[in-house]
Symmetry: C2
């Protein structure tokens, strides 16, 4: 967190005004890193699999969330102190005070009983609470002079569902088809904490796979990955590596298609530099699953905040398209061969900000005399440091010349202050993979020192070779 704040990865929004919690800004390093993360997502999931990407409006009309069930059901239980008016999320309060986990689906009555039984009082003033109430997490906005009711979407997937018929038609799709989106969603959390883990405004990368449920048993792309192993946690405790064929045989995975997409997701995260020995697919119990989901794995990683969900992998059945079909009066079915079907949906719903946080945590390595952010070179927000050894004899001008040659193609930064060793440390801390130093030899023969972040090795290269070397360093590996 210190690194994030002091180096410009991210920091609280409206900071000079002490704005409300749960809103964060990406600084220059954060934007660069996140954009590259999203590009790897596009490359390793979307383009590799031939998915379509859309970008929908964040404000959507009321009917969307009437159909999706969010207006009725997307609530958290809250209690309000009768005396000081402080508001708490009831289930979390009870969990904290009793030390036992309260499931998210507990009723208001159950929570009231627990509060009474354990004599739970306001944490701020000690007074009694009024009864538990439902608090809807949707954020509403009024549109135009008529104040038409609309909402900030609470999940990006709703855009994909309501756009499905048009996309399927204009892109001349066939089932199965995957439609993806990177964008913001909004949830009016009662007490957002844990910095980037629980936000009120956050980025998602969601992938919705539409398929014919009668045709999902045999999935051609599965053939190439049947022996791949997934790291799964079936009992909420122990993780184990199991092959896809084994998971299918034991009935843990419902279909070849789902196996294929979980493998694709796992292999994407491997490439982001996440420590995969601290990651797992955790099978959710019936009580934990969302109401529309008939099968769900959470892709989780271990961070300083415990096991954290990065991706919800949900089999949403035909719930979404049936509901939007009923509410809009326009049946959401398409032709698959000779059959008219309402597609079922399998979803990979990724939290981007959390993923960014987890990768940063897993990448930060403390060595004896330096901190190194060991980001993959293709994910580093700053790729190259350019340093004049000393600020005289024309070295600065030469460094500026080198910088101007590379900086349209690479993210390069210039640093002239402090000893060269100190400049290397600063670069290591923010994960710069290569640093170039301009010295007297550069002025004599156009060679520079290129220094590697991880090995700290230095070598001399001619400026004519530089572009080739940098291209190879930052190329995405196949």
């Amino acid at each position: 967190m210190r690194l994030a704040l002091e180096k410009g990865f991210f920091f609280p929004s409206s900071e000079i005004y002490s704005g409300p919690a749960g809103f964060w800004e990406y600084g220059p390093l954060g934007v660069g890193f996140r954009n590259k993360f999203v590009e790897v997502w596009r490359r390793e999931l979307l383009r590799k699999d031939g998915m379509l990407e859309i970008d929908g409006s964040q404000i959507m009309t009321k009917d969307v969330f009437r159909a999706s069930g969010h207006l009725d059901s997307f609530t958290d239980p809250i209690v309000k102190c009768k005396k000081c008016g402080s508001i708490f999320r009831a289930d979390r309060l009870v969990s904290e005070k009793t030390g036992t986990l309260v499931t998210e689906g507990s009723s208001e009555k159950e929570l009231d009983d627990l509060i009474e039984k354990h004599l739970i009082r306001c944490s701020k003033c000690g007074a009694d609470f009024g009864g538990t109430k439902k608090f809807n997490l949707m954020m509403s906005v009024e549109i135009g002079g008529d104040k038409e009711e609309a909402y900030l979407r609470s999940e990006t997937c709703q855009s994909i569902f309501v756009d499905f018929l048009r996309i399927f038609k204009v892109m001349r799709c066939k089932l199965p088809v995957a439609i993806a989106q990177f964008g913001k969603s909004f949830r009016n959390e009662i007490s957002p904490r844990q910095s980037m883990i629980r936000l009120r405004e956050f980025y998602q990368c969601e992938i919705e796979i539409f398929f014919n449920p009668n045709q999902s048993d045999v999935f051609q792309k599965y053939d190439g990955i049947s022996k791949n192993r997934l790291r799964v946690c079936l009992d909420g405790k122990k993780s184990q590596n199991m092959s896809c064929s084994e998971l299918l045989k034991k009935g843990i995975l419902p279909s070849q298609m789902i196996a294929y997409y979980l493998v694709l997701l796992q292999s994407f995260y491997e490439k982001t530099g996440l420590d995969m020995t601290r990651a797992r697919f955790r099978l959710l119990s019936d009580a934990e699953r969302a109401f529309y989901s008939s099968f769900a794995f959470d892709f989780e990683v271990e961070t300083s905040m415990g096991w954290t969900e990065l991706v919800a992998c949900n089999y949403r059945t035909d719930y979404d398209l049936v509901r939007h079909g009923q509410t809009s009066g326009r049946e959401h079915s398409v032709m698959d061969g000779e059959a008219q079907v309402v597609p079922h949906i399998f979803e990979l719903s990724m939290g981007v900000d959390r993923s960014i946080w987890a990768i940063l945590e897993h990448s930060l390595t403390k060595h004896e005399e330096r901190d190194v952010l060991e980001l993959k070179p293709y994910l580093a927000p700053i790729q190259i440091g350019v340093f004049p050894l000393v600020n005289r004899d024309g070295m600065e001008e030469k460094a500026a010349e080198v910088l101007s040659k590379i900086r349209k193609d690479f993210n390069a930064f210039y640093d002239r202050s402090g000893s060269i060793g100190r400049r290397y440390r600063r670069a290591d801390e923010i994960g710069v993979p290569k640093c170039l130093t301009i010295d007297t030899e550069t002025l004599a023969n156009d060679t520079v020192t290129i220094r590697d972040r991880d090995s700290m090795k230095q070598s001399r290269v001619h400026l004519d070779e530089l572009r080739g070397i940098l291209n190879t360093t930052f190329l995405f590996p196949d």
Copy 2:
């Protein structure tokens, strides 16, 4: 518009529910094109000039817009029909009915007088209006259980202003420094029309250049561009090309620094494929300028909807940092050499959706027997079409093999339906620069036909040469 809707560039949001106007979705081709547009913006403005990029939260606390003046002043005049309740934007209504342009700054009294003088009545039912009122365009949201007042930002630049002190410090900046942002803004327009031109939720690319007003006369980077010519319109009618040195000498441009950034902007748009003979920098009159602006050019292009503003280039003075300093109680000054200064700001505020629209319009060319979307290859959302000549003899399998080899690095699509000529036409219409056809010769000797969109020329290349050719085609030119 037909192309946009039918090919998946963009289409109305919440379409199946007839949602409110002014909200649009980008379909697969639109997302691809827009992302590439933003990448060119990053390359040709941000990286070329060494700017910093941030990504701030869209919901910001009330104080931000109290300081910026938006809560008081960001209003449009409206009238409401006494009988049917229809709401109109008063200045536009008067303009339309009288055929004379009403300036945006007209008072409620002036508008009421014009309505009375010209006997303007409700366009829907013919009844009288109540008096003109101010309607604030900010969209409010309530945060958390306490319903804390916050707003969706109406311009991305406010994030840059409130983050300025932190960014300046953690990125170890010196004046002048440019901070940029790509992101969404929200304005509660009364009657949004003209598709992508006037939206309620829209993308901006904003660049804020912070500088010491006492040091802006001499600007080193100006030396390289003093002879560059800008296409300016000084009287609102005639456009002419004038060199920067001439514009400075005549006092039309206030500083070398501003000249440099206008040249940078113009050269960016040249690379997007906009027809620059239909573009101009129009000098705004005193009455047209925003209240905080002491000098302003609009970068405009001619489209089917007339001259359309794409970028507002505003000299915002020290207005923003002084106001945020006063409201937050934290002076927004920094050291510049020996002096403590409140930086002045010059801004390039770009409408992304409008730019996308204009480039598409300027790129769509009707030939006798085909429509071609002549996008620059590096901006084409789909770069390569892969077609099996016929669907037998293993050509489909071979085509799939070719596709899988290139599609992680390029945006490629597969099309097997219809005659090859028809497939070329379909590709031309959405701007695909290169198409590969797999035929019997491919099966025999691993060569494919590569067909060029613009020249329609075909040549045979070996699959081993393919990557090299595609790399060259889609490389960004220096």
